[in-house]
């Protein structure tokens, strides 16, 4: 292993919580978030021998894998079903204790607002608040840093209105 590459376990321990939070903001069930997070790190583990720190940061690399895994999940499970659930704001499956537990956590409502944003806006918010720089967000979303900033602030405005509407 090259000297400049930390052990995979260090990367794993550092990022597993943040990747889970990112995925959780995209999908509406903690069980799905766990499955996708597991897939992300299985994929990352297999690809780690080819990971080059010169080309990208561990964060950008992992969030790219997470983003792709989430998109794969939507493709496999049907985006329509997910949107339906999101729009109707259905409660969690009663047989999903982890999901029910999270439902009660303070910020669940806010994340559900994030999940209802259009895809690119949701991604901009989620990636930024997962700790990526605008430059990294731009690279992942295939746009410039300035465009990423604009997208983020537009998303923030939409989110603010959405939260206010619900409170009104």
């Amino acid at each position: 292993m090259p000297a400049d590459r930390p052990p995979f376990e260090d990367i794993y321990r550092e990022f597993v919580g943040r990747i889970y939070a990112y995925v959780r903001a995209q999908v509406m069930s903690s069980a799905d978030a766990e499955d996708i997070t597991a897939q992300v790190f299985m994929n990352a583990y297999q690809a780690y021998p080819r990971f080059e720190t010169r080309n990208t940061t561990p964060a950008a690399w992992l969030f790219r894998i997470a983003r792709n895994a989430t998109l794969d999940h939507f493709r496999a499970h049907g985006r329509r079903e997910r949107l339906q659930r999101t729009v109707e704001h259905q409660p969690m499956d009663e047989h999903d204790p982890a999901g029910m537990a999270e439902e009660r956590i303070r910020y669940q409502a806010l994340l559900s607002h994030v999940a209802r944003l259009p895809e690119r806006q949701r991604d901009a918010i989620s990636l930024r608040h997962s700790g990526l720089t605008f430059e990294e967000v731009g690279v992942l979303m295939k746009c410039s840093e300035d465009a990423a900033k604009m997208l983020y602030h537009r998303a923030l405005k939409v989110l603010r209105e959405s939260v206010k509407e619900e409170m009104a």
Partner: protein, 408 residues
């Protein structure tokens, strides 16, 4: 954008930061997944890692005949096995149970060395990296204000240009046990809240409600480095008397029996919407010493306000934390350790920056260790450097406890 919209946006960003930082998988998921990943390793990688660790552990042994090495390997394996079996019996070693008074961190502790046995080391959490071309990035698991500070945790050439005097040769270490659901229930009951029905679950200790607030008590975690904590959100009667934000927060905490018993320093942000009770520990000969989080920022209990109304309280769950005295290293030794320290993160810029560490202080850091966790003294060094026109801060944390009392 109007001032009001600007404030709303800032508040929303703060909530998003908190939401992404506090949303974590259920307890046990991290280790379960790591076991699955490990199970996918080819057997020769597992064997190679095992022998690499073993050889690394005995690297300092002088050269010896092959037969002697073989005997040594057998002995090491046997002793290691027995040792690991023995350790399962009780983590934490021979700790003494002290009184409630010890939790206050005051003069009551008895500086007897090493009552908790050898301790895990405190450290700053690694930031996620930068590549050679990009500017260094703040630790992204950190709160927004830490990110704004442009913290850098990667390699640096360090020099020391400050003053550090610590008139103490020992300091208390505090240990607390991971709370149970029953502990969380007792805490909730003590402030007048009752468990919501059907709340047993995996990811939080409990959810509760009272006529005028809801309460969630959550587990502690290693990343982000955090003790068990609670969120209290008023649902009614959230106003409290007071002419300043600190007074309002203090009045609400008192009324709801949430005033912490630990010493603290009160800080109010510029907008008056956030009051922080920064936690401190008293060290004889030094005075109050601040508790820092995983990136080196002071923290404690947060009260968010909107005028005279409390919007939310976030604070550590009150826990009994007995203390034991430990020898600490001198200021001079701390400086030497800081200068020789290796980076705590995977951030990296080229060329390696030179940083003049200009300030240092004794602090306390939470060291998460599963069933038991510790508040340990440490020296926090800080200095700045410029890169591509931006000023960055480099922080180095040196364990203050004598190295002989620390786990490798």
């Amino acid at each position: 954008m109007s001032d009001e919209e600007d404030l709303e946006t800032q508040a929303l960003q703060r909530q998003l930061d908190d939401a992404f930082q506090t949303t974590r998988p259920r307890r046990g998921f991290e280790d379960e997944l790591w076991s699955k990943i490990q199970a996918r390793r080819p057997w020769w990688q597992t064997a190679r890692a095992f022998f690499a660790a073993l050889i690394g552990g005995i690297r300092h042994v002088p050269p010896a005949p092959a037969a002697a090495v073989a005997i040594l390997l057998v002995l090491v394996l046997g002793i290691g096995l027995l040792g690991s079996l023995g350790r399962r019996g009780g983590a934490g070693g021979g700790a003494t149970s002290l009184s409630q008074g010890a939790q206050r961190g005051g003069a009551g502790y008895n500086p007897v060395a090493g009552d908790f046995g050898r301790l895990p080391m405190p450290f700053l959490l690694a930031g996620s990296g930068v590549n050679d071309a990009a500017p260094p990035r703040a630790v992204s698991a950190a709160p927004a204000q830490a990110r704004a500070n442009n913290l850098y945790f990667g390699p640096a050439n360090l020099t020391w240009a400050g003053q550090l005097n610590v008139a103490a040769s020992s300091a208390p270490v505090y240990r607390f046990q991971a709370p149970s659901v029953d502990d969380a229930n007792k805490f909730a009951t003590s402030i007048g809240a009752a468990a919501q029905p059907g709340q047993a679950d995996l990811s939080i200790l409990g959810s509760y409600s009272s006529p005028d607030f809801t309460l969630t008590v959550a587990y502690g975690s290693k990343v982000p480095n955090r003790e068990p904590f609670y969120f209290l959100t008023p649902t009614a009667n959230s106003s409290a008397p007071g002419s300043t934000a600190a007074d309002v927060a203090g009045a609400y905490l008192t009324t709801h029996r949430l005033t912490p018993i630990w010493p603290s320093s009160v800080v109010v942000d510029q907008s008056g919407s956030r009051v922080q009770l920064l936690r401190q520990f008293d060290v004889a000969g030094v005075g109050p010493v601040f508790l820092i989080d995983g990136v080196g920022d002071r923290y404690g209990l947060d009260v968010h306000l909107n005028g005279n109304n409390v919007v939310q309280i976030k604070g550590p769950m009150p826990l009994l934390a007995p203390s034991a005295g430990y020898r600490i290293i001198s200021a001079g030794q701390a400086v030497q350790s800081a200068l020789a320290s290796s980076p705590s993160g995977v951030d990296r810029i080229t060329p390696t920056p030179t940083v003049r560490l200009t300030s240092a202080e004794l602090v306390y850091a939470l060291v998460w260790a599963g069933d038991h966790s510790f508040y340990e003294p440490a020296y926090l060094f800080s200095g700045t450097f410029s890169y591509n026109g931006t000023t960055y801060t480099k922080r180095v944390l040196v364990p203050a406890v004598d190295p002989s009392q620390l786990l490798p």
